[in-house]
Amino acid sequence: MKKVYLGVDVGSVSTNIVVMDSNKNILDNLYIRTKGKPIEALKIGLRQTRNKLDKDTKVLGLGTTGSGRHLASTMLGADIVKNEITAHGVAALNTVPDVNTIIEIGGQDSKIILLRDGIVYDFAMNTVCAAGTGSFLDRQAERLGIPIQEFGNLALKSKSQVRIAGRCAVFAESDMIHKQQLGHNQEDIINGLCEAMARNYLNNLGKGKDIKPPVIFQGGVAANIGIKKAFERLLGHEIIVPRFAGVMGAIGSCLLAREEVRKTGKTKFLGLDIADSNFNVKSFECENCSNMCEVVKFYRDEKLAARWGDKCGRWSNVQIAKDDEKLA
């Protein structure tokens, strides 16, 4: 019988699932586009995972991370629910034990994590703007009609410098269009964009931070070799892109779940067949006070499983009546 741990990272752009054995070997990893439907993405992902695993596989534990980590935990039953910073830090340390800097660029946010002597020492995330994250790259690739997978390789073909403004996604796009109308080559413009993103990242997140090698580059955008090269040019040293760069968050939550279950001795995971359950979400605006919180009601197989979104706790704290509140 095979014993495994599952790590789930529900991000804004992708939902990732990782299967890991007790010796920290990655047996399987999935990268699914969330497409604005985290519940659907999780169900699809979990079914695919189940189909690939042997019948007698036993799931010892499950951890969740990403901006949808609480939703995923409610759906699947998680042993540990951790923020992305910690999860990425744990995963990077497991891959490169002496890592000093993590550059992580995901769909909606980007992070820099500094580690010293094997602990997270400092971190920063992008502030109010998502310029320079994966979803912006996605949008540009789509606008140019280039599959995102080829974006990075095209940048490498660039022969001359085209400078694109990187501070703001809207300005960057206008700049790209302007340069394109001037007749610049597409690969030069794409390379300019990669440089702009790396420059913006280092100016914004890297400001005042001591970016020491070894530097790991992870998150979905790490698959873009153009941006990796741009970082290497700007920083002046090599950057490591781990084999599972796109699913590092999920790997981290796997490792954390493994540790947690070793402590508690049992798992809260509801089982792989939970993928066949019916999940429904309804939301309403609470009218009990002027905060008018947007409350979410979460149903598993027509039964209310959880509520959240209220500030006062009148909905989320209330003991959920198991049967009497059927999905209308």
Binding site: S67, K82, N83, T127, S290, N291, M292
Partner: protein
């Protein structure tokens, strides 16, 4: 019938509310404070304020909307300076005008100028000019102020001793040294109207507390310390907020009395664009205290803030583990 004086629960209310409320009460007025910030107040603030204002100023407009139809007077003083040789954020000087030109059908506005930049010699004159809206009796106004001032001093003292909660705004902890009992102690610094408005900061203080950490705010450090420490700063500080925050930072660096520092800023704040950076540099260059800057605006999505706070507290715990020479993982 008593005269109704409305005080918006926003901006410097969080610094001076015991003084303001009891002054008008002593004068015999009925004091009405706007509701706590909520969705409606925020919405009314956003649609009634010039677009480029910061979110605390927008919220102030929302509080004025909440009060304007149920009071005789609105207390919106033109606060230029509360300390010698120091200014308040320039937006406060223009606040009465911003309100008058953005919001129609206002009751009378008590917009007396408060300016102690040169000296406090005309303090009594300022008090009289405010009190005159309610009473003509100079002696009565002065004695009302004396009583209110006593109340304010008591309130300040209570906060500095970390005893009193910030009356109804938040509940704060008892006195403990950093790290004792493994409860982490976090300084939440920033303008008081950002730290104490739990709607604006998406319940940040409660979120930190639920991560098993205690909270310290700049108001809880005795003012004489922040003033003294600010003097050690190499450079002129001409904003009162800046002096308080820089003094707080230098005090924390020297006393090592917290496990972490979170600086709350709002998008587009002119003072924070300078002071936030300065404080961060001071802390990072002169100490190893974990520091994080959180920028707020009108977004209500909590995911980003939750992630930052959780990760910040994880980081502090992780560091402790290292200091105890225990491996964190594996």
């Amino acid at each position: 019938m008593d005269i109704k004086v409305g005080i918006p629960r926003a901006l410097l209310y969080y610094e001076y509310y015991p003084l303001w409320i009891s002054f008008f009460k002593e004068l015999g007025a009925e004091v009405i404070v706007s509701q706590k910030t909520n969705k409606e107040i925020l919405y009314n603030g956003i649609i009634n304020t010039v677009d480029e204002a910061c979110i605390p100023v927008k919220i102030f407009h929302g509080h004025v909307m909440d009060l304007k139809d149920r009071v005789d007077y609105l207390f919106i003083p033109r606060i230029k300076s509360v300390f010698m040789n120091e200014y308040i954020c320039p937006k406060f000087s223009g606040l009465p005008e911003m309100i008058k030109y953005s919001i129609k059908n206002l009751p009378r506005v008590i917009d007396t100028e408060i300016n102690f930049f040169e000296s406090k010699e005309h303090l009594n004159d300022t008090i009289y000019r405010i009190g005159k809206y309610i009473s003509n009796d100079y002696g009565f106004i002065m004695s009302a102020y004396d009583k209110a001032h006593l109340e304010y001093k008591l309130h300040r003292k209570n906060i500095e001793q970390e005893k009193a909660p910030f009356v109804n705004e938040i509940k704060i902890l008892g006195k403990t040294k950093a790290n004792i009992g493994r409860k982490r102690r976090i300084m939440v610094m920033g303008h008081s109207y950002n730290t104490y408005d739990s709607y604006l900061n998406i319940n940040l203080l409660d979120k930190i507390k639920s991560n098993k950490a205690e909270i310290l705010t700049p108001e809880m450090i005795e003012e004489r310390y922040t003033i003294d420490y600010a003097k050690k700063f190499d450079g002129d500080i001409y904003w009162t907020f800046a002096r308080k925050l820089i003094g707080t930072a230098l005090y924390l660096i020297d006393t090592r009395s917290v496990d972490g520092i979170i600086y709350i800023s709002t998008f587009g704040c002119g003072i924070d664009s300078v002071v936030g950076d300065l404080v961060e540099k001071l802390i990072r260059r002169n100490s190893s205290i974990p520091f994080s800057l959180i920028t707020l605006d009108e977004h209500s999505g909590e995911a980003g803030i939750n992630t930052r706070i959780e990760a910040f507290i994880d980081m502090i715990r992780w560091r402790d583990v290292l200091e105890d020479n225990i491996s964190a993982h594996g």
